[in-house]
């Protein structure tokens, strides 16, 4: 496809890219686990199963995926019946799963985020050898707070829906607008300063308007 006949520029670009982006990643797959300290113990196995169930739910909220998740939760629960912290976290995960099962795609958009976070907390508490008892309690506390916050958001969302059932904007456009406003709290957006974010947003709005106009014209041309 790309002729390499004039090699010099290619070599120069390649060098520059290596300088900038190094060989910081490589092509093997045996180190992809995020918690290497959890590996190699049989206790970790049920949690790996649970994680795979979390991932399935993240891709698509199906009854199958949720049932698998709940089943795995129960399995883990039976092994930790005396550990209050773990039991509490499992209960939260269970509530979230049931809520997702009922509401599927209509569930509050933060549900998956909270579920993943509580799962990570559970994994940490159950498998990390270095954690002290008070650190474990703190982890639970943090996750409980997130769960409570989500419950408030769900209640607010319901109230909002009830109030505006026959209102003008559709549910979808409304939630889109809200999401765009909320992006500040999103981890990705934390990466950029508020000012940069605002001006970028303005730029993009303008860009989109101009480009959509062009596109419309172009499409008209094609169809005529």
């Amino acid at each position: 496809m790309v002729e390499e006949k004039n090699g010099s520029i290619t070599i120069e670009v390649e060098q520059r890219l290596d300088e900038l982006f190094g060989d910081s990643d490589n092509s093997s797959f045996d180190h992809s686990s995020h918690h290497p300290e959890f590996e190699d113990c049989s206790e970790a196995l049920p949690f790996r199963e649970l994680k795979s169930a979390v991932l399935s739910i993240d891709w698509e909220i199906t009854d199958d995926a949720i049932n698998r998740f709940i089943k795995q939760l129960n399995e883990i629960k039976s092994g930790y019946s005396k550990n209050k912290i773990i039991i509490n976290m499992i209960q939260i995960l269970n509530s979230l799963a049931v809520y997702l099962k009922i509401n599927k795609g209509r569930a509050h958009p933060n549900t998956m985020k909270v579920l993943k976070s509580v799962f990570s907390g559970l994994e940490k508490v159950a498998l990390s050898k270095k954690l002290s008892e008070s650190e474990k309690k703190k982890t639970l506390f943090v996750e409980v707070e997130k769960f409570k916050e989500l419950k408030q958001q769900i209640i607010a969302l319901k109230a909002d829906k009830a109030k505006k059932t026959e209102a003008k904007p559709t549910e979808e456009t409304k939630s889109k607008v809200k999401e765009t406003q909320e992006t500040h709290s999103d981890s990705t957006i934390h990466m950029i300063s508020e000012k940069a974010y605002r001006s970028a947003l303005e730029d993009i709005k303008k860009f989109i308007k101009v480009e959509f106009d062009k596109l419309r014209k172009e499409l008209n041309m094609h169809s005529s």
Binding site: M1, I9, E12, P109, D186, I189, M191
Partner: protein, 201 residues
Amino acid sequence: MAFINPKTKEVQTKIVYYGPGRGGKTTNLEYIYKKFNQRIKTDMVVIKTHGDRTLFFDFLPFDIGKIKGYDIKIQLYTVPGQVKYDATRKLVLRGVDGIVFVADSLVVRREKNILSLKNLRDNLSLYKKNISDMPLVLQYNKRDLAEQGIPLLPLQTLEQDLNSQLKVPSFEASALSGTNVAQTMKKIVLMTVASLQKQLI
């Protein structure tokens, strides 16, 4: 078309990450941003829709510095994957110089990959561009999931489905862990700049 300004000696190239929804396009850009933003000094713009899906597009611009006297600026874009956002996809493809097609390695996503590649062909033809004339790299993403016992498409199948005619460079990758993310990006930048060199010199 790349924007080349002979006066300021600036070249702007547009590279688009394309592929089925939830395949890992945004995660690719996020990884590049998180890992390299100190070095490439840039801001990333992410506009999200319901939950965490890309609404319009993600945008990551950076500069690779002067090459042969030209200041080379790279702009990475992603498109939203869901079918209903086809207008946005068309829009983002406008003026594209190079494409990374991010395929999802999950067995259950096989059909979605194929459809999305077809959609790319169709949308390029709208701009009178042929996919086989385009700098293009394939990325088979989410390979890390094999370790967790999740059924993935064998590489052979992916190659057969997506690359049997195109025969372009392809990478196994995990956007989540970063494996081969920079490699994929470096390859497409290289191919794109190489294809522009005729105009440069």
